[in-house]
Symmetry: C2
Subunit: 602 residues, 2 copies
Amino acid sequence: MEATEKDILRGGQFLVKETKCEDVFTPEDFSEEQTMMKDAVMEFNEREIIANKPRFEAKDYALTEEVMRKAGELGFLGVAVPEAYDGLGMGFVSTVLTCDYISSGTGSFSTAFGAHTGIGTMPITLYGTEEQKQKYVPKLATGEWFGAYCLTEPGAGSDANSGKTTAELSADGKSYKINGQKMWISNAGFCSLMIVFARIENDKNITGFIVEYDKENPNGITLGEEEHKLGIRASSTRQVFFNDTVVPVENMLAGRGEGFKIAMNALNVGRIKLAAACLDSQRRILTTAVTYANERKQFKTPIADFGAIKTKLAEMAASAYAGESATYRAAKNIEDRIALRVASGNSHQEAELKGVEEYAIECSILKVAVSEDVQNCADEGIQIFGGMGFSEETPMEAAWRDARIARIYEGTNEINRMLTVGMLVKKAMKGHVDLLGPAQKVQEELMGIPSFDTPDYSELFSEEKEMIKKLKKAFLMVAGGAVQKYGQNLEDHQQLLIAAADILIEIYMAESAILRTEKNVKRTSEKEQSAQIAMAKLYLYHAVDIVEEKGKESIISFAEGDEQRMMLMGLKRFTKYANYPDIVDLRIEIAEKVKAENKYCF
Amino acid sequence: MEATEKDILRGGQFLVKETKCEDVFTPEDFSEEQTMMKDAVMEFNEREIIANKPRFEAKDYALTEEVMRKAGELGFLGVAVPEAYDGLGMGFVSTVLTCDYISSGTGSFSTAFGAHTGIGTMPITLYGTEEQKQKYVPKLATGEWFGAYCLTEPGAGSDANSGKTTAELSADGKSYKINGQKMWISNAGFCSLMIVFARIENDKNITGFIVEYDKENPNGITLGEEEHKLGIRASSTRQVFFNDTVVPVENMLAGRGEGFKIAMNALNVGRIKLAAACLDSQRRILTTAVTYANERKQFKTPIADFGAIKTKLAEMAASAYAGESATYRAAKNIEDRIALRVASGNSHQEAELKGVEEYAIECSILKVAVSEDVQNCADEGIQIFGGMGFSEETPMEAAWRDARIARIYEGTNEINRMLTVGMLVKKAMKGHVDLLGPAQKVQEELMGIPSFDTPDYSELFSEEKEMIKKLKKAFLMVAGGAVQKYGQNLEDHQQLLIAAADILIEIYMAESAILRTEKNVKRTSEKEQSAQIAMAKLYLYHAVDIVEEKGKESIISFAEGDEQRMMLMGLKRFTKYANYPDIVDLRIEIAEKVKAENKYCF
Ligand SMILES: Cc1cc2nc3c(=O)[nH]c(=O)nc-3n(C[C@H](O)[C@H](O)[C@H](O)COP(=O)(O)OP(=O)(O)OC[C@H]3O[C@@H](n4cnc5c(N)ncnc54)[C@H](O)[C@@H]3O)c2cc1C
Ligand SMILES: Cc1cc2nc3c(=O)[nH]c(=O)nc-3n(C[C@H](O)[C@H](O)[C@H](O)COP(=O)(O)OP(=O)(O)OC[C@H]3O[C@@H](n4cnc5c(N)ncnc54)[C@H](O)[C@@H]3O)c2cc1C
């Protein structure tokens, strides 16, 4: 499938352009190669990770390193790395699916894996010189060396560019001396290479360096003790202290002062991968939960037969399904855009960088949505297990603890929420996505007389797709109104930004679930896809509620009097179904399917 | 304040009777004695529990026992116990406030305390014979002995009456022999007395026994190893095995087959106490969070100044405030009803039993609402701390783990949700609460022409109180509709029961917050109470959203066509503000107050 510039949505454009179901990639579109990769990774996960679960929970850091080493031997650490640097050179979708299926055994491994392959390796593949890549990437791709990423400091977390670590050029101009303290560094305990960010003189922006680390010859680097954490217990997390650490000048990444850009772009890729890393956890939690619920009897009834439990199973399934739909949709958009850029003469490096940057909005959306979904899923998993869910003998409590970190690292979910809307507004200003035109149309529609036609919604998803269009109008109305009111100061109105982000997130997720299902119905049948149809409808129904809630709160806050009334009426129109779906029935249908298959089966 | 039968709402009646603000008890009404008790308990908590927090987290079970012993020496274990049995003989409000302020240091202690004073002691004080009380209660009230409660079995959790443990009468008729396996028994590791439920022959219902336990002379009792749990790490939780354990016949509690009733009533009291036990945790989490947020700077700004953080602080405060309001309101209702029954000739024992039973609906509401609020509060607490929230060095992660159990034990929140509505329907059938009349009125109102008057809402809370009335109508419409449609089979429609419960819960909580604030405004001023007013309004606003969401989902599921349309229109009317409050501003006001005081200050 050749992608042309025309076909591919630009990042953020989903909001104003209708996407045809044929144009989204779905997990059902995996190629043979991708399916083989998935099977290999799943097998690895079962054998090396899940089988050793208790050891990870007992803080066996050495095991994490050992399993990472094995992953390297099998090529899993180099999926995204070009063959020229001893990687597998596979596409972005394969990268994402590896991340997905390798991450569900334990958050300890998934963090080590994510930190190494993502923020530990990507700064070099994306920004490194040919020499740097030749020298380091093969070692990282094969697991001979492990990477860590040293950005955060005690005083610099979300405000990553404010770090105090310094890099001072030597008198002979041949090296930098790094001094400072980094904290929360994943993989610190067993890495051989660190991507370190430090400030040169009084630069506005930090600079990135590749720093080798050899325990035998520490070059001024010392490590703190392992941090004791709520979850991901066997993931090595330490402080790292640099005391006159000497780094040759040729180890600077990109140019002086380019570090902040590197840091942010590495995080962009990290975000969609982190979303992926939560997906198989959700599937696995649901499978474990339904298996238990089918077996556990109370009141002479398998608890899976109780409505209270069915609701949980259905909601868990629907959110996992939407998460998959959106993640693979975005992954393929990125892959296509990389291909397009390569075709038009960009280097692979440049193409990958720009490809991911283009979809930074979607990456943030995914990070927030899926990290919260997996948390809820684990929470309900505990509840389904009752008292047993609280025991370390069953897998739910660890899943719940491990999930908690995903809402904090790679940018907290607050920061990511604000980023989505912030980036979108910027894209609109730059003319990369035309929001103004559509927003004005919505404004006009608000003033106009609503149509009282009852449209024909007999075709599958016709009402749902109309609803998605309306939700997009709701977003444009709300965000547009806020921009008009507060202009440049919108940033100071975080509550509004966050509410707008919530709307945006729901639209992307719900639309993705619907498009995936529509595509699959076209190649199979409504009957075969009936549970998927139910999940897409259920997800959308909640999305509509959230849009209404967040929209209302926002409108009330920035508009008054007639304007407020008009916008609230518009919101009502944009969130109104002609035929309300019965979500009680939808949930039962989904739950019955999951119960019958005794697993997440989509 | 003498209470007369007329003054006091019956349990569940809050739904159909308007409560005046003068008729609710609030934490601001604490007597001098109660305030002294509160101070003493807080001091104990600081000194004995919080100061030793790391030891509790390190599973120091012996410490839990030791601190329980000290609590006994100070009388804290006997607050509710009549002086005749060496207790303090204080009222129900004092019992609840002790539970509140002693429980926030760690869930490990609060579980030990709750299990001992509640389900471990109450079955004897509520159902014991004079001899049994004389023999055992003083020991329990002073902490000479500790109690455990053995109801749950591997196969009998929510379905508590299905246990397989047996009690067989000896040939000489002098004793019972108990055989069976209990699990999840709190305090098992250091108790001297167990309330054990077992079945005699093929009885439909189980029977309660007082079983002494002496490690030196175990009488067929063996304990499993300590369970390793997600939270409440230093709370002893073990399996208990009975192997021909001999219990004299005079240790049977109440009559044969009365065990299930005992178990359920002990849990009723347990539930409001469990709610109380979550309150000070919420306060403490908020205080810790705001202190951190005031200190922690990112982007050269204390994070407490960011809208994203203000939202969290405000929502945390509002939910804690509503939780307090509702818990003490119900506690005093119970205390008054006990007093009333004593005044009309009941024994204290009988009076207490009936008093608590009367408010079983409120107890379940509180258990669900407050256990979920403290979970959310801890969750946001972690998020405010960012990466530090994930570290065992800061108190948020333990609070989050410990909170998780409250949604599982004392009846899972699913079971309690269904109970609230189930009990209410039963009360209506029995004529104890007239729901039918009011429900019919709502029905008529739905058919009638809505009034288009714009009422005068200038007085404080006039619109909010009108809104509460409307939400009650919404409940009657939804629950009434469901009862009409499904009649006796309503039980099979758990999704509806749960949605109705959510509505009921929100009404009780929101109303309690409003009434408390109104009462306090009357004795101080609107200015002094402005943050409280904001919290009551904020809480109500969310309650309205929840009622709308849950109501809509229910109506769509059980009604069709014109009936559905009519009810949805009714729901819209019942959830519509004339003047929408700006919750963005409300949150800012609340957050500014909390920030300025640097603590939960209400
Ligand atoms: C287990 C673990 C592993 C980690 N691994 C790595 C790693 O390998 N490499 C690395 O460099 N870092 C790593 N981190 C650090 C992580 O990226 C940071 O914790 C995260 O970016 C948040 O920063 P912080 O902890 O300083 O929180 P803060 O930035 O102090 O944030 C505290 C709170 O304030 C909010 N906040 C902050 N700024 C704003 C704002 N402008 N507006 C609104 N709200 C705001 C946040 O959302 C959060 O709720 C790791 C952290 C953990 C816990
Ligand atoms: C740390 C801890 C301490 C405890 N302490 C004690 C103690 O001191 N004494 C004691 O006797 N017990 C104790 N318990 C047991 C506790 O009360 C039970 O765990 C609880 O009642 C739930 O029972 P279960 O675990 O068997 O779950 P189950 O009853 O198997 O429930 C599993 C799931 O099914 C749902 N479910 C069950 N029945 C229904 C239904 N009819 N309709 C809809 N949903 C349903 C539940 O809500 C839950 O989500 C403790 C438990 C723990 C974890």
